[in-house]
């Protein structure tokens, strides 16, 4: 099923959607495959597969440390496709890769898109690539029918909200707050406003990320957006109690769904 149809189906049924982030190759390739399968089997509707990168400027300390660990353990970019294939063999949930731009650029944007498609992923979220700079990726995503998820932030002008929403396919990533990834006690009121601005464009669904870390927040976000994105809290749970911790946290987050 496509990302957009999952979001629409879950919206109509009143369930809402949970998007779960985890880094590929963390702590090892095998472990990360098991983690994604656990996410999928315990309540995540869409999997966000993070690509470890040396300079993750949008990420807080928890994700920084996890991706650094994956790189220390020898993660190579071609293993991303191994992870996607490994997960795809076991579960059929949509998968979006989340990658900073330089690894994709270095690999070759077209080659990356081609292999992404062949491995069984549905598209890519690009945290440091705005549509204005993305002509190569827009072209390759179209060619391979891949989703392309761009960010919209509380600081984005109306023109940019509109342009980024129209350039997106799958969903639009509404950044809940002015800040980097990490758990926050309250998901900003700004999140509601940003998601509302995206929804009013009407061309793509939107999921809210950055700061979402509890089942209650997942519930709250799903009242005004099409889905909630969680990353840091899942990694923290994995760090404290391994796969069991991850499963427990995923279920807690999913308890916020209808």
């Amino acid at each position: 099923m496509s990302v957009q149809s999952v979001l629409e189906t879950n919206k109509q049924s009143g369930r809402g959607t949970l998007v779960g982030y985890f880094p590929a190759g963390y702590p090892t390739v095998e472990d990360s495959i098991a983690a994604f399968v656990a996410l999928a089997q315990n309540g995540c509707d869409i999997l966000e597969v993070g690509v470890p990168y040396s300079d993750p400027v949008m990420d807080g300390l928890v994700i920084q440390k996890a991706t650094e660990k994956a790189l220390e353990n020898g993660f190579k970019l071609n293993q991303l496709f191994e992870v996607i294939r490994g997960v795809r063999e076991q579960v059929d949930k949509p998968m979006l890769v989340m990658s900073y731009y330089n690894p994709v650029l270095r690999y070759g944007v077209e080659r990356f898109a081609d292999e992404l498609k062949q491995a069984g992923a549905q598209g890519m979220i690009t945290p440091d690539l705005i549509p204005d700079e993305a002509s190569k990726w827009l072209e390759s995503a179209d060619k391979h029918d891949l989703d392309r998820v761009f960010l919209v932030a509380p600081s984005s002008s109306d023109e940019r909200v509109s342009a980024n929403t129209k350039a997106s396919r799958g969903f639009v990533y509404s950044v809940s707050t002015m800040g980097i990834t990490g758990e926050r006690a309250e998901v900003d009121k700004l999140a509601r406003e940003v998601a509302g601005r995206v929804s009013s464009i009407g061309s793509a669904p939107t999921c809210v990320g950055v700061g979402v870390s509890t089942g209650a927040q997942v519930r709250d976000v799903n009242t005004y957006a099409d889905g909630a994105i969680v990353g840091t809290a899942l990694i923290a749970a994995y760090e404290s109690n391994g796969l069991d911790g991850l499963i427990e946290k995923t279920r807690e987050l999913a308890s916020g769904l209808g």
């Binding site: 990168y53 040396s54 300079d55 993750p56 400027v57 949008m58 807080g60 300390l61 920084q64 440390k65 650094e68 790189l71 190579k76 970019l77 731009y101 330089n102 690894p103 994709v104 650029l105 270095r106 690999y107 945290p127 440091d128 690539l129 705005i130 204005d132 700079e133 761009f150 960010l151 919209v152 932030a153 509380p154 600081s155 984005s156 002008s157 940019r160 980024n164 950044v175 002015m178 800040g179 980097i180």
Partner: protein, 400 residues
């Protein structure tokens, strides 16, 4: 190309430059572009900056002919543009005063900065003190250790210094951390980026603030020698002092432009920071430019004895000038730079920063290419006081 080389205003320099940053920062970059554009055309802003340079920075900086140094480095005439005599001891103050004025114009009361050697951090802390702004300086933990005196200077000036403990714990990671801070505090905070890298408008704006170096030099060289120099030389890390002195000469095709990069242990070893000589185009810190990276696009760690050149990226305009062949870039090893530092100290009584010593180490190389007696203008971008601990250890000078 109908447009002159010196008239490029970004966001692109050929295929380089751009704004490869997270969406939350775009509004701040748009605001900065607009405010800078207005300020650039505003005679009042330009006059205020010029007045600050006259009465605070200490401009114009003088030119010193280094005759004894020249005599033992191949027989060229060597002219030193003395940016080391600026307040705070390097060229960095030129950009800092300009951006601090812009921060004031935008009503932002807090500035953040990254620093490698500490020169830009000290300059930023200085401007913050002068203008009454809050200042946080991000500095890789490794650099806080090798530049401990500059950490103390920044603190004495009232800045908060944050040691960055992630990644390679050097300049590149300090920039990441500053960008993270900026994403979270963009309403109140100006990111006072210290080099000609980063997303547009930084490469253009920082270049413009440093272009005074080349403009002054051009006039001074004509007065001193009656002609333009045969070559202009500077060290290149991020590339701010180099573009500052190059820019006025870009459209003088007879003037060779030479950038000297940090070759560390040698450009054929893994331990170097010779981004233009050994890197490949990629995206780092918001711009497309040459960078040191592995086959997966992960940024490689750079190495240089000089903290200020220890950076795996470089400003996009340099990448463009390299591809055009307008400027040439050459690697200088740690040991060549240290020898040049000692040589200038002992022939001219001028102790240069280790960064700057890379440009001086390039003089014998230029002497092989240029006719005897040709004039070379070198940007003496900073003084070496901050490097005394490194130099003391390197040359065994510590203790009686």
């Amino acid at each position: 190309m109908s447009q002159k080389l010196g008239e490029q205003v970004g966001p692109y320099f050929g295929q380089y430059g751009g704004r490869f940053v997270p969406e939350p920062l775009i509004a701040a970059l748009d605001q900065l572009s607009q405010v800078y554009e207005e300020a650039r055309k505003d005679p009042k802003f330009q006059e205020e900056l010029a007045e600050l340079h006259r009465t605070y920075t200490g401009r114009p900086s003088i030119i010193t002919e280094a005759q004894r140094f020249a005599a033992v480095t191949g027989g060229l005439r060597v002219f030193l543009k003395r940016e080391d005599l600026n307040h705070t001891g390097s060229h960095k103050i030129n950009n800092v005063m300009g951006q601090a004025l812009l921060a004031k114009r935008m009503g932002k009361k807090r500035i953040i900065a990254e620093t490698g050697a500490g020169q830009h951090g000290v300059a930023s802390a200085t401007a913050a003190a002068y203008f009454g702004l809050d200042c946080v300086v991000y500095m890789g933990e490794v650099d806080t250790e090798r530049q401990a005196l500059n950490v103390a200077r920044m603190k004495l000036l009232g800045a908060e210094v944050v040691a960055v403990k992630t990644g390679s714990r050097t300049l590149k990671d300090a920039i990441n951390e500053a960008l993270r801070d900026w994403v979270a505090n963009v309403e109140t905070t100006h990111y006072l980026l210290g080099t000609v890298a980063g997303p547009h408008p930084f490469p253009t704006m920082v270049r413009d603030f440093h272009s005074i170096i080349g403009k002054e030099s051009k006039v001074q060289m004509l007065e001193l020698t009656g002609e333009l120099p045969a070559a202009v030389a500077a060290c290149v890390g991020g590339g701010s002092n180099a573009i500052g002195i190059f820019h006025a000469f870009l459209d003088d095709p007879d003037v060779q432009l030479w950038g000297f990069e940090a070759a560390g242990d040698g450009i054929d070893t893994p331990m170097h920071a010779a981004t233009l000589s050994r890197g490949a185009p990629g995206v780092l810190h918001g711009a497309m430019s040459y960078m040191l990276q592995d086959e997966d696009g992960q940024t490689s760690e750079s190495h240089s004895i000089s903290a200020g050149l220890d950076y795996p990226g470089v400003g996009p305009e340099h990448s463009w000038l390299k591809d055009l062949g307008r400027a040439q870039y050459h690697g200088v090893t740690d040991s060549e730079a240290m020898e040049a530092m000692k040589l200038l100290s002992q022939t001219e009584g001028i102790i240069p920063a280790i960064e700057t010593a890379h440009a001086l180490a390039g003089i014998p190389h230029l002497a092989k290419i240029l006719p005897a007696g040709a004039s070379v203008l070198v940007n003496l971008s900073g003084r070496g006081d901050k490097d005394m601990e490194t130099a003391g250890r390197y040359f065994g000078l510590l203790g009686a």
